[in-house]
């Protein structure tokens, strides 16, 4: 009997697809030159790196000279935020939201320790930031605003264009962590009014440990590292060439496939949401419409997320949870708290994030396996019996 794997954790990471893997292979053993070298092998690799930069730029509606390769989403966020802070002569004010990824939140907390001050904007019950609150939070000392394009846990899409125009009107830098969005939904940096945008290849069937930062022409930040002149000194160090090539190919493919993929994922997502809610006492977390095409985040009331994940895993279904027990910190996720979920409801949260390989049969399979799991765990739960 072949055991089945239904991978529904694409928000965590995705498999490298064949076309991407094939594109990377020559850059390990055949085209191994250092792109900074003057000789022919080096120059050939330089050309491939620059082609990957152009592909990345095209996917974002940007110019190639505005794309900087990094080690992923975390590093892109750090370069933008810390770099902008370091560029200043004195401490200043930062605006972000309470639902950002730790790769933004923890950077902001660190900057607070260095004397900067930060406004963590609240979100509504669907996880949305109100652009008006951004406007109201701005002071004469505000130098950067950082709001994620889509939330990694609950999938809520933020009004980036509107927030971007608020930032632009006030002459304040605007960064968006678009790690969850690039390759899933169309992105145009000019349309979004952003100065910085972070992306990571492993979220759209590219390799891990490689990403990019879009930084608008004319914007200056102080680099975090010192070294060679790679990536125009913004990110010195010999390039992760196979990664860069993989990123270029992955972003090119993912963006060209958005029209079909978005529709398919939204359809599968909505079927899964509907089916799970049909179990009863199941609530959707995040915005019902303004959400990532592949994101399903629900709370199964009266039961705990990790125990649901363990049970799903035994059926070959891979998902994730924001419950306190699965976080390692004994606290429910800051995102679920920020949207106002009470503790027991946050405790039962499970995220299914769909992607490339998922099919209608996968949805049927989850909808067949989930109800008995939920029923078994509820039958053990004191709060279910006391409801």
């Amino acid at each position: 009997m072949k055991s089945r794997l239904v991978y529904m954790d694409h928000g965590a990471t995705t498999p490298v697809r064949k076309e991407v893997f094939d594109a990377m292979i020559p850059f390990f053993q055949e085209q191994y030159g250092n792109p900074s070298s003057l000789h022919t092998p080096g120059r050939k690799v330089r050309q491939a790196v620059e082609e990957a930069r152009e592909k990345t730029a095209r996917a974002l509606g940007a110019g190639a000279e505005d794309i900087y390769f990094t080690a992923g989403g975390t590093e892109s966020n750090n370069i933008a935020l810390r770099g902008a802070a370091k560029e200043r002569a004195k401490p200043g004010h930062i605006i972000t939201s309470s639902v950002e990824h730790h790769a933004v939140l923890d950077v902001c907390q660190d900057l607070e320790r260095e004397g900067h001050w930060v406004t963590y904007l609240p979100v509504d019950q669907d996880g949305l930031v109100d652009p008006e609150t951004v406007k109201e939070a701005i002071t004469g000392d505000t130098f950067i605003i950082s709001i994620m394009a889509a939330n990694n846990e609950i999938g809520t899409l933020q009004p980036i264009r509107e927030i971007g125009s608020v930032a632009r009107d006030c002459g304040i830098l605007f960064h968006t962590d678009a790690v969850q969005v690039v390759g899933q939904l169309p992105v145009d940096v000019n349309d979004l009014n952003v100065d910085f945008l972070s992306l990571a290849a492993h979220k759209f069937n590219g390799p891990k440990g490689i990403g990019a930062l879009y930084m608008k022409k004319g914007v200056k930040v102080d680099p975090l590292y010192r070294g060679g002149s790679q990536e125009r000194k913004l990110r010195p160090g010999t390039e992760n060439v196979p990664g860069v090539i993989g990123l270029g190919r992955a972003v090119e493919l993912a963006v060209s496939e958005i029209p079909g993929k978005q529709k398919k994922l939204e359809y599968l997502r909505d079927r899964l949401i509907e089916g799970l809610i049909g179990i009863g006492d199941v609530v959707l977390n995040g915005h019902p419409q303004k959400r990532l095409p592949g994101n399903v985040n629900v709370s199964f009331k009266y039961i705990e997320g990790e125990s649901v994940l363990l049970s799903l895993d035994m059926e070959g279904i891979a998902a994730s949870s924001g419950s306190a027990c699965s976080s390692g910190s004994l606290e429910p996720s800051h995102v679920l708290s920020a949207i106002g979920l009470d503790h027991p409801t946050a405790h039962g949260s499970v995220r299914f994030s769909l992607g490339f390989g998922n099919s209608e049969e996968d949805i049927d399979y989850v909808l067949e396996k989930a109800p008995p799991i939920v029923e078994r765990l509820r039958s053990m739960s004191p709060t279910y019996h006391a409801r």
């Binding site: 009266y302 039961i303 705990e304 997320g305 990790e306 125990s307 363990l310 035994m314 419950s323 306190a324 027990c325 699965s326 390692g328 004994l330 606290e331 429910p332 503790h343 027991p344 946050a346 405790h347 039958s379 053990m380 739960s381 004191p382 709060t383 279910y384 019996h385």
Partner: protein
């Protein structure tokens, strides 16, 4: 993440349910992570004749609830009262360090159930 014994108890928990005419009921909740457990005991001749639990929690919480019930069923009340959270974790063959917290419900719930049982006994005797 969990060893086979923990998973076995998670998948086939012993003594799940409630005892409507229990002699003692104990409840504990973790303020922090949110796991909660309810434990029912039936006592005869000072021995725990029957025990059942209900748990709202993760794998560690459910497995340790189940393990505890197996460990104390048939023991005298005094013997059972000696069982610690550490004993339960040990009997399960160990738990990941960050999950120990979640397993700390079981012995606490038993302490509460025993206290409740003694409470009842005193009240009955004073009637």
């Amino acid at each position: 993440m969990y060893n086979d014994k923990v998973m076995e108890h998670f998948n086939n928990p012993r003594n799940v349910g409630e005892i409507p005419d229990a002699d003692g009921v104990g409840e504990t909740g973790s303020f922090k992570c949110g796991d909660t457990m309810k434990l029912y005991i039936k006592v005869k001749n000072d021995r725990i004749e029957d025990i059942k639990f209900q748990t709202f929690g993760c794998g560690a919480a459910i497995a340790s609830s189940s393990m505890l019930t197996e460990m104390v069923k048939g023991k005298t009340v005094e013997e059972a009262a000696q069982v610690t959270n550490q004993d339960v974790a040990d009997e399960l063959g160990g738990l990941p360090p960050m999950k120990l917290h979640c397993s700390n419900l079981a012995a606490d719930a038993l302490q509460n159930a025993i206290a409740d049982y003694k409470d009842h006994k005193i009240k009955q005797q004073s009637l």
